[in-house]
């Protein structure tokens, strides 16, 4: 077959695929089976509802979910009993109201600021043990969560330090991908979460023929799955009982 690969900045055509593809297009269920285990630490940045429903069907347990905001999909995952620990900065739906299942859930919590989590992903992506920011100052969060003070060796200024996040898996959403697995239209901290994680799945709303470049170069073993917009089951408890029967 005719494969395409990149050598340095030069795009080359080869008659045989000598370089393994950087990203593999996968069915969602297969990708999740390959990536998510009981007890996995999962960065959850924009994962669509379909990811939560597949994991709920699989009865995945004891996940640590790391998310700036788990959103409706994360709320379903918690409601399905898949999550033991939540590391978040916000738990709000699109309307700004608190996510109901998470608000009621009995799970271990680690609360951060959005900037704190972004800094922790950034540190994880850079292979550093912790990240530094100006943050948490004057707040009660500083007294209840994993944040410390470090002194700048150059100026002596006190700064906040957060432990790096280097999750087992990142599940992030992007607008689209092409058939070679190039990705475009990541939002938020999606890119940082992918580089921080050992493995990653990018869900996309659309697959196109060819994109000029990818926003995730050099990520070995990246999986990409096209995931159609799927509605939240109207009666989630009944849906869950049915699929697990």
């Amino acid at each position: 077959m005719t494969g395409r690969s990149r050598v340095g900045n030069v795009r080359v055509r080869s008659s045989t695929t000598t370089v393994p593809p950087m990203a593999t297009i996968s069915a969602l269920a297969d990708a999740l089976d390959a990536l998510v285990r009981n007890g996995s630490e999962v960065a959850w940045e924009g994962a669509p509802v379909a990811v939560a429903t597949v994991l709920a069907r699989r009865r995945v347990r004891d996940l640590t979910l790391v998310a700036l905001n788990p959103g409706i999909s994360g709320d379903l995952l918690v409601g399905a009993g898949c999550v033991a620990r939540l590391v978040t900065s916000a738990v709000a739906g699109p309307d700004g109201a608190v996510l109901p299942r998470i608000a009621a859930a009995d799970v271990e919590r680690e609360d951060h600021t959005a900037t704190g989590l972004a800094t922790a992903y950034d540190a994880g992506a850079a292979g550093l043990p912790f990240g530094v920011l100006r943050g948490y100052v004057g707040t009660d969060l500083a007294t209840v969560t994993r944040v410390a003070t470090v002194r700048c060796p150059f100026t002596g200024e006190d700064l906040a330090a957060v432990p790096a996040i280097a999750p087992d898996v990142a599940i992030v959403h992007a607008r689209r991908a092409d058939r070679a697995g190039n990705v475009d239209g990541l939002v938020g901290v999606g890119r940082d979460a992918v580089y921080a994680a050992r493995r990653a799945l990018v869900t996309v709303s659309e697959t196109v023929e060819e994109l000029p470049r990818t926003e995730l170069p050099g990520v070995a073993g990246l999986l990409v799955a096209e995931v159609p917009e799927s509605p939240v089951p109207a009666d989630f408890a009944a849906w869950l009982a049915e699929v697990r029967a």
Partner: protein, 214 residues
């Protein structure tokens, strides 16, 4: 319009905005920002916090934050984390998000319906720092940004008194009395010597509010 939000609240908040780089919470705060941009502040730049790189690099450039909270206290400290004790809360709220760093670095306009359960003497949890406990506290802990400049409600506007850092009543919306405001405030609310009445909506503001404007 969410419960407790009034047109006067949106107007009073919008009028505080001059322009500059802004982020806003969903709901009433964003409505106020859009109202300002549609009327007297067309240069207001409203950022989307979901833009890649915003949290690490863009947030520190934000000049104005329009936000809401579950609780605000006499010193303008804000709570969006928990009601009750942190370890055994009676209610879990939406969480910190960007509020702490916004309150640290930007000027903050807080929009919150004026109810006794929200206007408390001391917040259950300081998610974001207002004046903490007194006029020198922000500088003492190393907060050099402006922080909360106004709490705009459906009854009036409260602003921190520079001498005490305590929120005082500075504006009263039409038809509202000081007694009404005090009845919904959980601390002995001082009234500014320069208390003013909120001006009614101009034609342009009314048009923008009803969506018939430009």
């Amino acid at each position: 319009m969410t419960a407790g939000t009034s047109p006067m609240m949106l107007l009073a908040a919008a009028r505080l905005l001059r322009g500059g780089i802004c982020v806003s919470d969903p709901g009433a705060p964003t409505a106020a920002a859009l109202l300002a941009r549609a009327t007297h502040a067309p240069s207001l730049e409203l950022l989307d916090p979901r833009t890649p790189g915003f949290l690490r690099h863009g947030l520190r450039r934000v000049e104005v934050g329009l936000v809401t909270a579950a609780q605000v206290d006499a010193y303008g400290n804000l709570n969006t984390s928990v009601l009750g004790e942190y370890d055994e809360p009676t209610e879990r709220l939406t969480g910190a998000g960007i509020l702490p760093e916004l309150a640290a670095g930007a000027a903050l306009v807080v929009l919150l319906p004026h109810r006794l359960r929200s206007f408390v003497e001391r917040v259950d949890f300081v998610t974001a720092a207002g004046g903490l406990s007194g006029p020198l506290d922000r500088a003492r802990v190393g907060l050099f940004g402006t922080g909360p400049v106004a709490v705009v409600t459906d009854l009036g506007v409260l602003r921190p008194d520079p001498a005490t850092a305590e929120l005082v009543l500075t504006d009263l919306h039409p038809g509202v009395t000081v007694e009404q405001v005090r009845a919904e405030t959980g601390w002995p609310l001082e009234v500014s010597d320069e208390l003013v009445a909120t001006e009614p909506a101009t034609d342009a503001e009314r048009a923008a509010l009803t969506g018939s404007g430009p």
